[in-house]
């Protein structure tokens, strides 16, 4: 501001006869007091009315400004605000699109990996049942072979297992009725025991034997019952075979998971 250079003060409407800058502050205060104490005149009244108008307008404007919405704005301001809002909306929409894409990507990926995981789980279950590392249950049959005279050898039992496998048996267990249980898998061997009975994978079993098979029970039973089939052979050996069809049999004997010592998975050939 032009505090130190009074000559540069803006020109005022009042007919200013430039006051001497040597005015004492006392004089100014005295004039102010005098003005405050002046007798009411018509001019003073008009000035008062104008001041009242000013105060009124100030109060009104302040109040209107406090709760002014968009209604008090100019057209250009409204247009600018509208532009801002539109631009902001489009920016937010773009952002929302990006996020939607990301979400779709992420959830799609996770569902893909979930599906892969589920497939791997099912495959491992299937292989586990085949390899005998998982317990299995389902419909099937129980074949009990009582062989009091020791005429049933390993060959008959092997034929029996083969017949059952051909008939669609999926999981096998062979056991002595009151003894050890052996899960039958692809590499299972059966040999005759030294003093009667048989040896299955190194486990000695003796009569009566029980073979538990999971599969379609009717097909399995039919496969055993055909003329010249397993039951006929057992009858000729003076042994007795009894087939019981069940809606649910359970095989709980397990095999340890084999760890291949030399074989490694080969990379899959495509095409």
């Amino acid at each position: 501001m032009s505090d130190q250079t009074p000559g540069s003060e803006p020109v005022r409407e009042q007919p200013v006869s430039e006051p001497s800058r040597s005015d004492e502050g006392g004089i100014g205060r005295a004039r102010l007091l005098a003005a405050l104490r002046a007798k009411p005149s018509r001019g003073q009244l008009v000035a008062g009315v104008l001041c009242a108008l000013l105060g009124f307008a100030v109060a009104v404007q302040v109040r209107a400004n406090q709760d002014a919405g968009l209604s008090g704005l100019r057209q250009t301001d409204l247009v600018r605000i509208l532009d801002d809002v539109t631009e902001r909306a489009s920016r937010l929409q773009a952002e929302a699109r990006d996020l939607e894409d990301t979400k779709a990507k992420v959830s799609g990926g996770s569902s893909g990996s979930l599906a892969a995981l589920e497939e791997a789980r099912q495959r491992s279950q299937t292989l586990g049942i085949l390899a005998g590392t998982l317990a299995a249950e389902g419909p099937g049959i129980e074949l009990t072979i009582s062989d009091p005279e020791g005429q049933v050898g390993a060959d008959v039992l092997l034929d029996t297992l083969q017949e059952l496998r051909d008939a669609g048996g999926e999981a096998f267990e062979i056991s002595a009725v009151d003894g050890a249980r052996v899960r039958v898998i692809a590499s299972t061997y059966i040999s005759d025991g030294d003093n009667g009975g048989i040896v299955v994978d190194g486990v000695a079993l003796h009569s009566p034997y029980r073979i538990t098979v999971i599969g379609d029970s009717r097909t399995l039973a039919g496969a055993l019952d055909i003329p010249g089939g397993v039951l006929d052979v057992l009858g000729q050996s003076r042994a007795q075979g009894t087939v019981t069809q069940r809606t649910a049999v359970a095989i709980h004997s397990l095999r340890p998971t084999p760890t291949p010592q030399y074989a490694r998975p080969a990379p899959q050939k495509t095409g």
Partner: protein, 110 residues
């Protein structure tokens, strides 16, 4: 004294009556208020200078308000309303400051 009383009465009236500003006046009222403030400060300075004349005060008050409103109106018609309003406020603000500086010198010698 009457002026001060009038100011107080006006403010109180505006606060208690809670009038709404007519839509047509809305762009002009703020500028008019600033212009009137300029006139009041000028009048106060004139009082301290000992040259106050109520006729001059009234005329300058009314003229200030009218000119300010006219400028804003013109600006609105020309499409530069907000810029002109800003300009008017700046100019009036400078004048208010210079008047306030003169008043301060009178009252406080500084």
């Amino acid at each position: 004294m009457i002026a001060v009383l009038g100011l107080v009465v006006g403010i109180v009236g505006g606060l208690f009556l809670e009038p709404t500003v007519p839509t047509g006046l809305q762009p002009y009222l703020p500028i008019a208020v600033v212009a009137a403030l300029d006139a009041v400060f000028g009048g106060l300075r004139a009082v301290l200078d000992g040259i106050f004349d109520d006729k001059v005060f009234v005329v300058s008050f009314v003229a200030n308000v009218l000119v300010a409103a006219l400028i804003v109106y013109l600006g609105d018609q020309l499409g530069v309303g907000s810029q002109l309003s800003t300009g008017v406020v700046v100019v009036l603000g400078i004048r208010i400051f210079s008047n306030a500086a003169a008043i301060r010198r009178h009252l406080f010698q500084a």
